[in-house]
Symmetry: C2
Subunit: 432 residues, 2 copies
Amino acid sequence: MTKPLKIALLGCGVVGSQVVRLLREQEGDLAARVGAPLELAGVAVRKIGRKRDTEIDPELLTTDAESLVTRDDVDIVVEVIGGIEPARSLILSAMASGKSVVTANKALLAEDGATIHRAARENNADLYFEASVAGAIPLLRPLRESMAGDRVQRVLGIVNGTTNYILDKMDSTGASFTDALEEAQALGYAEADPTADVEGFDAAAKAAILAGIAFHTRVTAADVYREGITEITAADVASAEAMGYVIKLLAICARSDDGGSVGVRVHPAMIPRSHPLAGVREAYNAVFVEAESAGRLMFYGAGAGGAPTASAVLGDIVAVARNRIANTRGPEESTYADLRVHPMGDSITRCHVSLDVADKPGVLARVAEIFAKHDVSIQTVRQEGRGDDAQLVIVSHRATDAALQATIGSLREMDIVRAVAGVMRVEGDEAP
Amino acid sequence: MTKPLKIALLGCGVVGSQVVRLLREQEGDLAARVGAPLELAGVAVRKIGRKRDTEIDPELLTTDAESLVTRDDVDIVVEVIGGIEPARSLILSAMASGKSVVTANKALLAEDGATIHRAARENNADLYFEASVAGAIPLLRPLRESMAGDRVQRVLGIVNGTTNYILDKMDSTGASFTDALEEAQALGYAEADPTADVEGFDAAAKAAILAGIAFHTRVTAADVYREGITEITAADVASAEAMGYVIKLLAICARSDDGGSVGVRVHPAMIPRSHPLAGVREAYNAVFVEAESAGRLMFYGAGAGGAPTASAVLGDIVAVARNRIANTRGPEESTYADLRVHPMGDSITRCHVSLDVADKPGVLARVAEIFAKHDVSIQTVRQEGRGDDAQLVIVSHRATDAALQATIGSLREMDIVRAVAGVMRVEGDEAP
């Protein structure tokens, strides 16, 4: 057994307090798995006096994070503060001082991963961040290591538990967005300011991280097309349900058909109820990975929460601890493919659209002509009602998002179209 | 870029030929990911002249596997022959000669993993075997590394594609076992001699490997309780369906309630249709992992086939290649917990049983008394038919398998019970 490895923990909130608890409760198992005891060297917090979810020796608490991460006796720095600063500066100081770093910070990695990864490389420091995407679900390590001999084509997933909880409530109870959000807030699934979740920022950060690893290309949050779920109505949900679909907020990272570029996007989409992602309820996460040889893989589990996220953090702590003892480090950032990230307009998707139309002979023909003009083929058309209430519900085949948006623009300008209602992308059921 | 790493491939059947193809087609990507080119040094086959699924330079083929694995220029030995010998001797020779080993050989690891793992340790050699369980699904690496900071409670999965295909056909078409097996054979999902699959030997080997990793304990195939699916009738399937269940062949590795021992078993079981494993169709595999902090995780994908299995093999090749360049090795076998593997009788499960009974007052009371005598509580009873056709369908609560079997033995001896039909374990819906 080697001498103890010392851990500095930055942040002691929902996740951090679980990390402290697990380090204590699993002390013997962790030591056996690592080959050395893991010891908590200190915990940096904003306020010393605050009540925590777990017991912590008061002598370990400090408000001086900068001194903690550079302390000579510290081997591993675990960052669970979140946000850009001071997290970035602390991680950079830690690496410069020769520490291994474990972080759950999706926002930082998606916004400025380049700086963090470069520092890891220059300082020959380990950087693990499994907990930054999809909480407890082992996803980054499988993508980065298990799939290292395969060619990933697409990653398609539900990576934000809050929005999945809201959409699931809307689907199962018919609630409005506002009511479902309030329920999620009451239950602690959504924060008081839910912007990061409901506007898709959180999912977009995760999509950037996933795309970067899957395609060996640097992708930042700014490269990700993003739409949130705030404008989804109970009527949209009901209409999807009537057609055998369910609405989910999806993160989609896909190689272009020619393989030369990638698209990364987060937006609500209708998926068929028979699709495995349709069955992902409440705040759970699930991610599909499609690879050339492996085919379709799915990973499912708790995407957030203190203990599940701490499980992923602990797995990374064990990995960096083993690496330190073996005097080696894990795989570093891989960006050799350096693919172009194409704009949303070049992404291939499908579209569902409901049109309120005048019930006159020839309406369908004229609408179909608009689709044809934009090179978009129609998969299904359903005509509902008659007279003033006539409605055309159209689902397209695959086309570029630019062509689909142009089609919708043209439809809005038609005199026979009274209103374009319920425009929604469709994913998950048509082979490329 | 480092000098090329040379690979010796043992076996060039369904999986081996895909490994050759992928090494060739992904040459550039693999070199970039590893940091050195990967080169095929030789392919050991039984007969040189045989037609292969992919093109191979004839000069690479050899029937002298022993010489190939000890050749000075070889760095990595990939074993996809299967079976115990000559695979074991070749792997041991390779390790003794300082090679890193990647294998897909579940039978060997489950029967004599101790010898193989000891040789890896003594020779300081890498041993990776992701492809041995659940084909393309990244499962062993997540269990061994991502969950290294958690406490796994249970692994529950469908790990044999052939039997899942057969049971799925029986469920969806009402076919008999024999007819479904013939269809599976015609489509190449089952072998001419299907014993290893339908009798559960293949799943038992995988269960032993999974349990060993999950519980840090050495588990061999001989420790695994095993029942196949050959006695499942169309009537069993129909009866399960009527109750909202589906029959699956499950591999179950579970910690005892007190945590002091583990049970490892493979047998058919009824699971509720609402359970995510119930939706696993055709030859797909899926595995649930329940851990103390992470909660329930599910991994889903293709469990067999040339390209999917080759994807897992290639992932391992990249890992051992990176390790060789970094002059390190992956985590070795972890058996520190050394838990007792308890016999099937001590495993906790539930039971469904149909009884043909005389339709007399007091029958249910007397049957219930038998359950109570064995300390087994009843969850549901349904009485069907009347007179000579009266049937009691009973589902128990959780109990030890020994108590459940003793209960069924006592039921068989009752004068009012004409026949005990449809005895089947029930899994997947009652919290411990």
